[in-house]
């Protein structure tokens, strides 16, 4: 939240120029939706910050524990998973303490799943904005995906603390963490763009998203290590971008096996394709949002 406040003065110096130049807006029946219009998106960066900040703020006001819930819910999940998979089923964890092994994966995973769940209904729940004021609608799912990062950061701090407690100090690999965080963000955003646009028209998405998340979790190495996946399936398995993200997190924070970077590149490639397609799809559909919402 502080970063938003600090950003203000730097932006305000830029803002003095648009008032002198009057922008001409052309409203046409058929906008060319294949144009990315990223500069227009950038003009609304302050709105993006504000919506993120509102999401975070509104999520934790009037709650006694507030941001503490960010820590509590994954801890409960870890306890359950550790008992069932760690002690009962005895799933191997690459020689790491099982709770730590799971938590490292849960941080990006929970970020992804919660963002996806929130973002898929985000556009619909902003119906009052969409029918009243103009701004690039893409900002809504982007803000949704970004605002989840705060939870993720809190989770990271806990993982590092937990690692220290288990006697694992972070290696230089931790410097690569922002890269994997970025990949997690891109993955969440890519899927969210498709889902949030579809949700405006088909409310079924509201039911499909949680199902997909459930299946996706077991298709990602959250509760089990990648080494359990048969060698010849690894390439197909790595098409799931969350595999790269989770393996990357484990490597960056716990420093065991470095991820296979060719598979990681494959994951990133898949994400970029979904992200680009999702953006265009969203832009195509956003023209009718106000009419069908």
């Amino acid at each position: 939240m502080q970063t938003i406040v600090e950003n203000a003065p730097t932006n305000s110096t830029v803002s003095s120029t648009p008032t002198t130049v009057q922008p001409t807006v052309v409203i046409e029946a058929n906008r060319s939706w294949w144009r990315l219009d990223l500069h227009e998106l950038w003009k609304y960066n302050e709105l993006l910050y504000t919506l993120c900040w509102r999401d975070i703020k509104a999520r934790y006001t009037q709650s006694v524990i507030g941001i503490g819930w960010v820590a509590i819910s994954p801890l409960v999940t870890i306890a359950i998973v550790t008992i069932i998979f760690g002690y009962w089923v005895k799933i191997p964890s690459d020689g790491l303490p099982y709770p730590l092994f799971v938590f490292t994966a849960l941080v990006p995973w929970l970020y992804f799943s919660k963002s996806l769940e929130r973002a898929s209904t985000s556009v619909t729940s902003e119906a009052n904005l969409i029918t009243k004021v103009y701004f690039p609608r893409v900002i809504i799912p982007i803000a949704s995906a970004l605002s989840g990062l705060i939870d993720c950061l809190v989770g990271l701090v806990i993982v590092i603390a937990m690692g220290l407690w288990f006697g694992i100090t972070p290696t230089w690999g931790i410097l690569a963490l922002p890269l994997f965080l970025g990949l997690a963000l891109a993955t969440a955003l890519a899927v969210s763009l498709w889902f949030s646009a579809l949700h405006v028209r088909y409310h079924d998405i509201g039911a499909i998203a949680p199902l997909l998340i459930q299946v996706w979790m077991y298709a990602s190495p959250v509760v089990y290590p990648l080494s359990m996946v048969p060698e010849h399936w690894r390439a197909v398995y790595s098409l799931n971008p969350m595999v790269g993200v989770i393996e990357g997190f484990r490597w960056a924070l716990l420093g065991k096996v470095p991820p296979d970077f060719s598979f990681l590149a494959l994951s990133a490639g898949v994400v970029l394709v979904i992200l680009y397609g999702g953006y265009l799809f969203f832009r195509k559909l956003e023209q009718t949002f106000a009419d069908v919402i």
Binding site: A8, Q22, I27, E28, R54, A58, L129, K132, V133
Partner: protein, 418 residues
Amino acid sequence: MSDIAIKAEHLSKRYMIGARRQRINTLGELFTHTVSGFFKTRSTPADEGTTLLKALDDVSFEVKKGEAFAIVGHNGSGKSTLLKILSRVTTPSAGRANICGRVGSLLEVGTGFHPELTGRENIYLNGAILGMRKAEIAAKFDEIVDFSGVERFLDTPVKRYSSGMYVRLAFGVAAHLEPEILIVDEVLAVGDAAFQTKCLTKMGDVARGGQTVLLVTHNLGFIANLSKRAMVLQRGQVKFVGNSSAAIGAYLQSAAGNKGSCDLRGHAGRQLGSTPSMTSVRITDKDGLDKQSFSAGGEWQLELEYACKSDVRLMSAGVFISSVSGIGVGSFDTFMCFPPPHHIPSSGMIRFCIPELLLCPGEYFVSVGLMLDQQHAYDQVTRAISFSVETNDLYGTGHMLTTDHGLCVFKGTAEIVT
């Protein structure tokens, strides 16, 4: 750079309504639709039952920079659709518009307010949503707070605000947006009288301060005061563009036909969902002769003719009188006048009578309607016909009543007690 702020050319907006070919809302429907479409050899393009609603039909106009331009029209005439297109909320089906300058809309004040956030936070949030920069909001923050008068509650979540405070704060933010083009839609109906006056003053300042204002309101007095030019929309089409007093005339014409009687078939004021069955309405004097202008205290009669299918059981027919500025003056119906059972024939003529019309001088509208029961209207036409009340010496003291005396004449008495 030209001096045109808004240039709209042939704007149209069509909606598909009707039973067939309707929107597919669930994936299941999408599936069945796709499958059935696959097996149908050649789907009929214009399926029966589909209606193409032309919300806007070839609308062209220009607004100069610094001009206050008003748009008037009945419900469903396309005003809101036009504003939505101009504020880029929705896209037109055809045509184009050039807009020069930042557009700020007051389509509905309080857009994006979050109930959990405090007044202070909502000012920033709302400002950002309306397109203000953070630095701009900070610079105007005190002004906004002053204007809305909520300084004591700045750090209270707005969900605990009274509705009046909420609206004041919302309008405060919107009014300080100061875009080059301001779109105002019916915001003045909110707040108490003192706050409304404040808003009017602010709007006046804005309109006179060189900002381009696009105004949509039912308050014809407001239009006459603030804007020089106006456009009348009727059923999505431009009926008139010109100076505002002529536009008000054209609007009243379209509203009523400035005669004592009016054909209701195909009337522009018919509410959506009505089954057109009222055929004509006629305002007369006590002798049953068409009359358009009355003097206060005179007898007023209205004859409503209608014909429904014989199996329609109507409960009542009624009239509703409102002032030019949209204020409801009074209403009555057969339900009030007749003892139970409250039925009226399925077709015929009903005469409504006000023995003593105690209204101040001015222009008044009459809306008429047929009701099936207390909640469900069968046919409703708003502002079906208008009549005027002329200034006269009702008290017999030589004092002429004017529009400044309000809407209602009390015909009161006064005595000096001491």
